[in-house]
Amino acid sequence: MLTAVQTAKIALAQSAGGDELAFARIVREHQAMVFSIAYHFLRDRSRAEDLAQDVFLHLHKNLRAIQSPAHLVYWLRKVTGHRCIDEARRQRLRPSVSLTDYLEHAPEPAARFAAADPLLAGVLRRLIARLPERSRMIVILRFQEDMEPAEIAGMLDIPLGTVKSNLHRSLALLRGRLERERKGITR
């Protein structure tokens, strides 16, 4: 009986050898991770899908450089993270607002906000989307991917102290903004 790691190793080796089905298995296994990093960062499903597709195409060209299943996850997170930040910076130079983007950023009606936790999650996602690019990526990697600050520092090529202080500031900012939104609604 093969373990999950052994199966992943085999799929990786077969993909590098040109096996299309093995590559499809890799895509299906990691698509939620790649897409979600992009989606939580960009807040636009269509742009997130385009970016996630580009990441997997890039992986397809670089399969031989991937040494293990753990390296694959690290590689995918790193490439996705950097591409998201680049995309957001490019977008800042040519701002445009999609309908989903508009709906996500539109002010939440008081009744909807107070109703239930899924709505609180929506507000939190909207507040995260307002963070500066690097802080936003750090928060996503910490709370979506459960990565340790040291792993995030290595992945984004920044000092550990910067990640820790950034996380601390971002959390304080998010809590403060959430409190203001709550007060604004209950007032």
Binding site: A48, L120, A121
Partner: protein
């Protein structure tokens, strides 16, 4: 603080991409594979076209040189025949004067 972090985790849970995502990725990888091969065919066709036109040009040059050589030879033959005839005429006219 812990509660707030859990709320963040819940807000940032992983989501599946739209249906057919993996198929779209695979279709793009197939398209990319065809890309370089297609480009190499185009390059080969352009190279063949260039070779053909260069060959045609060379052939026309060769034909021109051949025609020139043949014309020169014909002129040379005609010139030598003409000088023989001229010699014969002058010989005959000298004989007529002496007689």
């Amino acid at each position: 603080m812990r509660e707030f972090e859990d709320e963040l985790r819940s807000a940032l849970h992983r989501q599946e991409p739209p249906a057919g995502f993996a198929d779209r990725v695979l279709s793009r990888t197939r398209h990319n594979k065809g890309g370089p091969r297609h480009r190499s065919w185009v390059a080969a066709a352009i190279a063949a076209g260039l070779l053909l036109s260069l060959g045609g040009f060379e052939y026309r040059q060769y034909e021109g040189r051949k025609a020139k050589r043949e014309l020169l030879l014909a002129l040379e033959i005609a010139g030598s025949k003409l000088s023989i005839a001229q010699e014969k005429i002058s010989h005959l006219s000298q004989r007529t004067i002496h007689e």
